[in-house]
Symmetry: C2
Subunit: 249 residues, 2 copies
C-alpha cells in the first residue's frame, strides 16, 4: 500500500495563482487537510474530496492528522497558503514523520507562489536583487534574534520582505523593525506593503520608511523595505540591478 502525502503551496489566495502541478496533485488526493481559512479558499474547486481542518495554532495536530491519513493509505494533501516551504508546513511534516516513526510515508513538497514574490509583483520589482525574508512573529522565535536579523539585513543593504508585521498582541513590532532599519537607512527609503494579496479587498501602498514606521498593518499584510538604491518609478517600487541603458552606454 502506498503511503503518500503532498505538502502543497496553494499560492497567495486566488485559484489562478496556483501552479498546474499543485492543481493536479489536489485532484489526485483523497483527503485535503489545512487551516480552516485556506481550505475554504480551495474547497469549491475540488468537489468529492474529504476535507479536514484545524484552527490556526494547531499545526502539530494538523501534521499528525495528515501523516495518519497517509499511513492509512489515503493519498493526502496538506495545504499551505503561499509556498509550503516558506513559513509553511513542509518542515514540520518532516519533523513529525521522524517523531512519529512513519518513515514509510513519502513526503512530496510542491512549491507555491509565496507572499514575497506575489506582493513584489503587485508593487513593481522591489526584490529583483539580493533580498532577505524575515517574519516578525515571535511566537516561535525570540524577539532578540528577529532584531539581530533585521540589523544584519539592514547592514547588508538587502531589500527586506517582512512577513507577519503585526498582530493584536504585537501592535508595535513593525514600528520597532523600522526603528532598526532607520539606524542604517534613510527615512526616505522607498517602502511598500500589500494587504490580502490575490484575495478580496487586495490593496497596495507605496511610502517612505519614515511613513511606514507610523503605519498600522495586520497579519494579512506583507511589507517591503527597499535598499539604499530602490526608486519609485511611476506607480512602482523598483530596485535597480545595475543595467546600463543610458544613451551614452
Amino acid at each position: 500500500m502506498e503511503q503518500k502525502v503532498y505538502v502543497i503551496g496553494i499560492g497567495p489566495g486566488a485559484y489562478e495563482e496556483m501552479t498546474i502541478r499543485a492543481v493536479k496533485a489536489l485532484k489526485e488526493c483523497d483527503v485535503i487537510i489545512g487551516y480552516t481559512v485556506y481550505v475554504d479558499l480551495v474547497k469549491e474547486h475540488f468537489p468529492g474530496k474529504r476535507f479536514l481542518t484545524t484552527p490556526m495554532t494547531w499545526e502539530v495536530k494538523r501534521c499528525e492528522m495528515a501523516l495518519r491519513e497517509a499511513e492509512a493509505g489515503q493519498v493526502t494533501a496538506m495545504i499551505c497558503s503561499g509556498d509550503a516551504g516558506v513559513y509553511g508546513m513542509a518542515g514540520l511534516m518532516y519533523e513529525m514523520r521522524e517523531h512519529m516513526e512513519l518513515g514509510g510515508v513519502k513526503i512530496t513538497v510542491i512549491p507555491g507562489i509565496t507572499a514575497a514574490t506575489a506582493g513584489a509583483a503587485r508593487l513593481g520589482a522591489p526584490l529583483i536583487h539580493d533580498f532577505a525574508v524575515i517574519s516578525l512573529s515571535d511566537l516561535l522565535t525570540p524577539w532578540e534574534q528577529i532584531e539581530e536579523r533585521l540589523r544584519d539585513a539592514a547592514k547588508g543593504d538587502f531589500a527586506v520582505c517582512i512577513y507577519n508585521p503585526s498582530s493584536r498582541k504585537r501592535a508595535d513590532y513593525l514600528r520597532r523593525a523600522c526603528d532598526i532599519m532607520l539606524e542604517y537607512r534613510s527615512p526616505d527609503t522607498v517602502c511598500g506593503y500589500v494587504r490580502q494579496i490575490a484575495r478580496e479587498g487586495e490593496e497596495q501602498h507605496l511610502m517612505t520608511l519614515a511613513q511606514l514606521k507610523d503605519t498600522t498593518t495586520d497579519m494579512f499584510t506583507t511589507v517591503f523595505i527597499g535598499t539604499s538604491r530602490t526608486r519609485r518609478i511611476g506607480e512602482a517600487m523598483v530596485t535597480p540591478r545595475g543595467y546600463h541603458y543610458g544613451t551614452n552606454d
Copy 2:
C-alpha cells in the same frame, strides 16, 4: 489602443510549474519575448504566437523590443525563468519604460516559482524560516558587496540561498562564499544544491558546508546553506521553525 505588456515568471522550467494565471496571460498575448532558452521551454504550448528572442546578455535590447511591441498595440509577454521579480526582467522593464518615455504602456508583473522555493521543495524545507537570497554573479554587482552580504547573512544565522554560484569565469566564487560562511558557521552545517530544477537531468545533493566548499557547480545550480539549526532528516534538509511536539509538551 491598449498598450500592454506582461512580465511573466514561467517557473523553473516544466510547464506544470507555471501558474494558471501565467498560462492564461500567455494565451492572451500576440507576441512572446524572452531569452532563447526560456522561449524554447514554452514554445510548444502556445502555438500561433509570434516569438522573439535575444541572446543572454541582451537584456536591455530585449526589454526595448517588448516595450516597442506593446507601444504598437501588440499584447506582449516578456517571459523570465523562475519569478519575474527575482533576478528577472520586471525591474528593467519599469526602468526602460521610464527611459524610453513610454508611460502609456501598462506593465503587469505575473509572479512565478523562483529557484529558491522550487529548489527548497526538492531538498526538504531549508528555507522554512527567515532566509536570504544572494547571487554570486558580479556582472552587475561589485564582488565586495556580495562578500559583505554573505557576511551579514552568515552573522544573522539566516538560511542562505545562492543563485549563480559559479560560471566558467567565476570558477572559485562558491568556494570563496563558503569560506566566508565558515567564519561564522560550523563545517558540519547542512547544505545542499539542486541542478536543472524541473528540467531534464534534474539532480539534488545534500552535504556539509565543508564538502560544499569543494563542490563544482554551474549556472544552472541553486545552492542552499542551512542555519546553525538546520538538520538532516532522512533524505531531507530541514530548518526547524521551533514547534514543540515532544511527548512532554
